[in-house]
């Protein structure tokens, strides 16, 4: 512990975060930081270039860290705040697990069979650039419940990443492992179970970590969109994204920031859990 505290690296990081918080505090309190008047000449220039005059941000509108902290301490006691956590986590897990269950076999089958790859991959690649959120209306129309609609969107987000990573991982398995197995008389199933599966596992882990990040993005957006702008039934969406939206609509800016940081932490926790699980599943990678 002592060693960790005396590490200069740690202090430098802390220092910059501290500086950031201080600047933020000052900026919010002064309410004049980067105000329109201060940057008049620059704004004229932007205006001349054709940009709208109000292009630059006004940090003064952002609540100060101290206010945020105060708001957070209030919210922590509220049950509905933790319920939002639960709802978001639930959706993330649901979509993510679905993406793994469908995505990993799909990816592996594409890697194993050239025909399957030739037929499915082009369609996959054509659908991939369409952002998952663009599917929201279609999803709402299609799926019977709002919950399943949101889960579908989160599923999409993670699905693409996982498949791409599985494919990449399978392709990069050293061809000599296959040859060794074949020369030892392995069946196709054996090769799959003992070479392809473990060989792809590291890429699956990486893909999952990235996919997890995307899933959170999507969940938050989906919650905001379906909760915030929807016309479909007044059912409480719940979840942290919805929490942020409510805070915005309700005019409590401090709570917005609380929500944002909460999601950041939640995302971080789930990524860490995943990485921990990954290390457990691929012990051979520890040796460096």
């Amino acid at each position: 512990m002592k060693k960790m505290l005396s590490n200069p690296m740690l202090w430098r990081g802390v220092a910059s975060i501290a500086v950031f918080l201080i600047l933020w505090e000052i900026g919010s309190r002064s309410r004049q930081w980067m105000a329109p008047e201060l940057f008049a000449p620059l704004k004229e220039l932007l205006g001349a270039m054709g940009f709208k005059k109000d292009y630059l941000p006004w940090i003064g509108a952002v609540p100060a860290p101290s206010a945020v902290l105060k708001s957070w301490l209030e919210v922590v006691g509220d049950m509905s705040y933790w319920h939002s956590w639960y709802m978001s986590f639930f959706r993330v897990m649901g979509g993510f697990i679905a993406a793994m269950i469908i995505g990993i076999p799909f990816g592996l089958s594409l890697a194993m069979s050239r025909t399957a790859h030739g037929i499915s991959f082009p369609v996959f690649e054509v659908l991939r650039p369409i952002p998952p959120l663009a599917w929201v209306p279609a999803s709402i129309i299609f799926w019977p419940t709002q919950e399943s609609a949101i889960t579908f969107i989160t599923f999409l987000g993670a699905f693409y990443t996982i498949v791409i990573n599985v494919l990449g991982g399978a392709r990069s398995i050293d061809v000599r492992y296959f040859q060794a197995a074949q020369s030892m008389g392995s069946s196709r199933w054996d090769i799959f179970r003992r070479i392809i599966l473990p060989g792809t596992l590291p890429s699956i882990v990486v893909g999952s970590a990235v996919g997890m990040g995307i899933t959170w993005e999507v969940v938050v957006a989906a919650e905001m969109i379906s909760g915030g702008g929807s016309q479909i039934g007044g059912t409480r969406g719940g979840g942290l994204g919805f929490f942020i939206w409510l805070s915005y609509v309700g005019g409590s800016y401090e709570q917005i920031v609380v929500g944002m940081i909460s999601i950041g932490i939640a995302g971080f926790i789930s990524s860490e859990l995943l990485r921990w699980g990954g290390r457990y599943a691929t012990p051979w990678l520890k040796v460096r």
Binding site: M9, R12, G13, S16, I17, F20, K52, D54, Y55, L56, P57, W58, I59, A61, V62, T115, G118, I119, F121, P122, V123, V126, L127, P129, I130, P131, P132, L133, A134, W135, V136, P137, A138, I140, I141, F142, W143, P144, R171, V175, G213, W216, E217, V219, V220, I225, G228, G229, L240, G241, S247, Y248, Y253, I256, M260, I261, I263, G264, I265, G267
Partner: protein
């Protein structure tokens, strides 16, 4: 040993060249030029044509008789002895990369007549014929590997230099790969895939009317609407408004991407290059990064008085993190040996940065840029859906709200196409800047 060259034997020369592997399908014009620089020589039975380790000056083509070609053992050929009759080509060592001496000893086992062509003259001739020249060299390489069973390592032919051939090789490389692709089953499988997908869509929604699919917009409806000169819901390939929305979204993504690259690449480079900078900045970076971009939406609306900038800001934020992170990883992934080598060779710190770090990180940077533009679109669409006035995300959302279902799909498809195009443009720029990597990957193609 050698007889005087025969005069007026051009037609015979062309005829025998036609029977060789390298020149077999060359044009008449090229063959005529080659014949013009060749001479006919004759050897008696048992005559030694050349010995291993002699200077490799001429290429030989057997016109009649038989030549016995014995590799020296160091070459490691699968079979040392090869007998060649009419159309056999030997003495090509001078065409190989880094070879200046004969790799074999050749004797005439019976009275033999051959064409001799000076190697350097041949190379110059081939260099002056951009398309055909490269093709002939390829045929030489194939012949050497297949017919002479030489290990591939030693059997690499020289690369023809010259400005025209340099340009041509990128183009002809692409054309060659395209022709390979067309001859494989891949394009047809692709068509099958799309056909399956589209027909399923058609059948599920419009013909079989499956439970949940019933309410979805059908493919015929979408296609009709998209291509209609005066669409029911106001948006089709023919309406100006359609392109306005596209332009709006593209313009926003361009701004976001540009800002993210201009800020993200230098930040990433510094993070990777300077340990001090990383220690100060990276913790802050990693604290802000996990916050989903869309969680910033309300705050962005509050911060930016104009919704336009808020939308661009959101797209920018996502791009920025992706670009900076990937650039940093790129710098960190550069093999230390390159930096050390540059130091040995006397480069200053700045020179190392410019000549080693930046080119070395470029592949990662471009991967990052491709991810960044995808992420940019992702955030942009979400932001537009929530708080936009124009743009494709806005189109998709309002179409839903106004119950204009076919337009939803038009929006989605357009989004896919435009997103893919922008991503491809980034990749093309990357390929152009990193020619060395494209070549390396092409050679390693599995």
């Amino acid at each position: 040993m050698e007889a005087a060259p025969k005069v007026g034997a051009a037609d015979d020369a062309i005829a025998v060249l036609r029977e060789t592997t390298p020149f077999g399908d060359a044009s008449e014009a090229l063959l005529a030029r080659i014949a013009a620089i060749s001479r006919v020589v004759r050897y008696g039975a048992g005559a030694r044509i050349y010995s291993a380790d002699d200077t490799a000056d001429d290429v030989f083509i057997v016109v009649s008789g038989c030549a016995e070609h014995v590799f020296k053992p160091e070459v490691g050929a699968r079979e040392a002895l090869k007998r060649m009759g009419r159309g056999g080509v030997f003495g090509w060592a001078g065409l190989l990369l880094g070879q200046t001496r004969r790799l074999a000893t050749v004797t005439a086992s019976e009275p033999t007549e051959a064409l001799r062509i000076d190697t350097e003259a041949l190379v110059r001739l081939l260099e002056s014929e951009p398309l055909e020249g490269g093709h002939v060299m390829e045929r030489f390489a194939t012949m050497i590997q297949r017919e002479f069973a030489m290990p591939a390592l030693l059997a690499q032919v020289r690369r023809l230099s010259g400005p025209l051939t340099e340009e041509m090789s990128s183009l002809s490389l692409t054309m060659y790969r395209l022709s390979l692709w067309l001859r494989s089953p891949r394009p047809y499988l692709m068509l099958i895939g799309f056909a399956l997908f589209l027909s399923f869509w058609y059948l599920a929604v419009e013909v079989w009317k499956l439970p949940r699919f019933r309410e979805m917009p059908g493919i015929t409806g979408v296609v009709k609407e998209w291509f209609a000169p005066s669409p029911t819901y106001g948006l089709s390939l023919y309406t100006g408004e359609y392109y306005q929305h596209i332009a709006m979204s593209v313009w926003r993504v361009t701004q976001a991407f540009f800002l993210a690259t201009v800020l993200g690449v230098p930040v990433g480079l510094l993070l990777g290059w300077s340990r001090k900078f990383k220690e100060y900045v990276f913790p802050l970076f990693e604290t802000l990064r996990p916050i989903p971009i869309l969680a910033w939406v309300p705050l962005a609306i509050v911060m930016f008085i104009a919704t336009e900038s808020a939308v661009v800001y959101l797209a920018f934020l996502a791009s920025f993190f992706a670009t900076a992170l990937n650039t940093m990883l790129g710098v960190e992934s550069i093999d230390e040996s390159y930096v050390r080598a540059a130091n040995c060779l006397g480069a200053s710190r700045w020179q190392v940065f410019r000549h080693v770090i930046i080119p070395g990180a470029l592949p990662f940077i471009f991967t990052g840029l491709q991810i960044s533009i995808g992420v940019s679109w992702f955030s942009l669409v979400a932001a537009e859906m929530v708080s936009g006035q124009y743009g494709l995300g806005y189109v998709i959302w309002t179409s839903y709200v106004m119950v204009r279902y076919p337009t939803i799909v038009i929006g989605m498809v357009t989004l896919g196409l435009v997103g893919y195009t922008t991503s491809a443009m980034v990749r093309i720029v990357g390929d152009y800047l990193m020619e060395w990597r494209v070549r390396e990957l092409a050679l390693a193609e599995r």
